[in-house]
């Protein structure tokens, strides 16, 4: 029959799903034998037997197979139960015995290992100085060393005790440190050594000048090489203003105001003469005298009614970004709008005195120097008539 019997097919199908079989019902053992033979786990077989006890009656060969497989020397240790149903008990018993034996063997091994460890751990007391057999050098001065054999005792008793002592010392040294050359060959060091080379300063080619020059050169190089630390004076406004700062500022302000007043007096209708103005100016502090002198000539020029610089509106200029203190009420009354702007200027941080020269060109007051271009009048003044200057070539009749 080409198609296998249904029984075989069913058996094969059962083997395929063997792990899921727990209960075989009342299937006879003979039918199940090929399936049960494929069981790997004895516990699985036990479960099936529990559910279908009639299997246990005939499953002896299966259990025997398990015993032989799992327990070493299972064949010799085979026990045959009286009750054929209790083969699983036999298996379990043998298994337990095996486990116990294994455990005991492990324990014994552990103990032996620990015992060894304990032995190693204990401390052993040894002499501080251990006698060591002296090592002899094979060769001494290219010749085989037979000294050790000759002078085994160490000290030789001869007529000359000093020499004997020397010999014994040398022998001992050779025994202990044969690689070191003993003084018997070299000689004991006496402290006197021959000077082979003269010191530098005593040499004939030693030149004092040269050395001094070399030293200077070295120093110069060192100076050049070392990083130069520039001390730059930075005139930056400090956080806190001390009393001197405030006093100085006040003094400067005062000075500015005076100067301003002077100039105003000059330019105003109620004007003083030049001599009077100069005389009024002299009692000012000495350190500003140069400034005032410098200003004398420009102020004379400015006194001419040609240009009214002070009243001229200052050119539009972006206001400084730093905080500006409002002008004091005393100054606001007499000041013109142009001057007020200047007093604002006065609150600025003090500028270095080097720019003092340029204020002569500016509107008579110190502080920030204004560019010369600003000085040119814009409003309310007569513009100078400029001659037309033709920089281009004159157009001739024949030219295109």
């Amino acid at each position: 029959m080409p198609v296998s019997s249904l029984a075989l097919m069913a058996q094969r199908a059962a083997i395929r799903t063997l792990p899921r079989i727990e209960d075989v019902g009342d299937t006879p053992y003979e039918l199940l034998e090929p399936i049960l033979r494929r069981i790997d786990n004895p516990d699985h077989l036990l479960k099936i037997e529990t559910n279908s006890p009639h299997i246990a009656d005939k499953s002896a060969p299966l259990w025997q197979a398990f015993i032989i497989r799992d327990i070493p020397d299972g064949k010799t240790k085979m026990l045959y139960p009286k009750n054929p149903r209790s083969w699983h008990k036999v298996y379990r018993k043998l298994r337990k015995e095996e486990e116990a034996k294994k455990q005991s063997a492990e324990d014994a091994l552990k103990r032996t290992l620990l015992g060894l460890k304990e032995e190693k751990g204990s401390t052993m007391f040894v002499n501080k100085v251990i006698a060591r057999p002296a090592k002899q050098a094979m060769f001494v001065d290219g010749v085989l060393n037979t000294r050790g054999q000759q002078h085994a005792a160490g000290v030789s008793t001869s007529a000359r005790p000093l020499q004997a002592i020397k010999r014994s010392v040398v022998a001992r040294a050779q025994q202990q440190k044969p690689h070191m050359q003993t003084f018997a060959k070299i000689g004991v060091p006496s402290g006197k050594t021959q000077i082979l080379v003269a010191p530098k300063s005593m040499r004939p080619d030693y030149n004092n000048e040269v050395t001094a020059a070399a030293k200077r050169a070295a120093e110069a190089i060192k100076k050049i090489a070392e990083p130069k630390t520039e001390i730059r004076k930075v005139f930056a406004p400090m956080g806190k203003r001390s009393a001197t700062d405030t006093a100085l500022d006040a003094a400067r302000l005062q000075q500015m105001r005076e100067r301003e007043q002077r100039l105003r007096n000059l330019t105003q209708p109620g004007r003083k003469t030049v001599a009077e103005s100069s005389a009024a100016r002299t009692p000012t502090s000495t350190h500003t005298s140069t400034h005032s002198v410098a200003r004398a000539s420009p102020s004379v020029e400015s006194s001419t009614p040609k240009r009214d610089i002070l009243l001229a509106k200052p050119p539009p200029r972006p206001l400084p970004r730093y905080p500006i203190a409002l002008p004091s009420p005393a100054s606001t009354a007499a000041d013109s709008p142009g001057a007020q702007y200047q007093s604002d200027h006065l609150q600025l941080p003090p500028s270095p005195p080097t720019t003092a020269s340029s204020p002569g060109l500016s509107l008579g007051i110190g502080g920030r120097s204004m560019s010369p271009a600003v000085v040119s009048p814009k409003t309310g003044t007569q513009p100078k008539r400029k001659r037309q200057v033709d920089i281009f070539m004159p157009v001739k009749k024949g030219r295109v």
């Binding site: 080409p2 019997s5 075989l8 094969r12 034998e33 090929p34």
Partner: protein, 131 residues
Amino acid sequence: MATLSQFVTLVSSDDFSFIVLRSAACLSGVIRRMLDPACIIFSHASLLYSVLTLTDGFVEARTNTCHFENISGMVLEKVCEYMYYNEKHRDGKDVPDMDIPPELCLELLMASDYLDSACPSLLHMALLTAA
């Protein structure tokens, strides 16, 4: 009843009837003998019955019906499927196994064993070869 009917009825324990070809059903030795009119009764139970009714074979042979009180409908269905599978691949070689769901395989094993138990030696031989 000179000619035997082409179809026979197999009835399961839960009253499922399967009408199959006689040739396919007689794959099983049990069914063949049950349906064979020339077969002589040997069992005690049927002996009395036959004496009471007729002496020509089993009841099943006359009615062309086989009742199986120990085989469930699902298993019997699979058996019938197998019968036809076998008939279909009668001439083939190395035909693969029929698909058997795991839930039925043990019951099917029992049923197949029952249906083929007429020739136990053959069954044992088959099982041995399989193992």
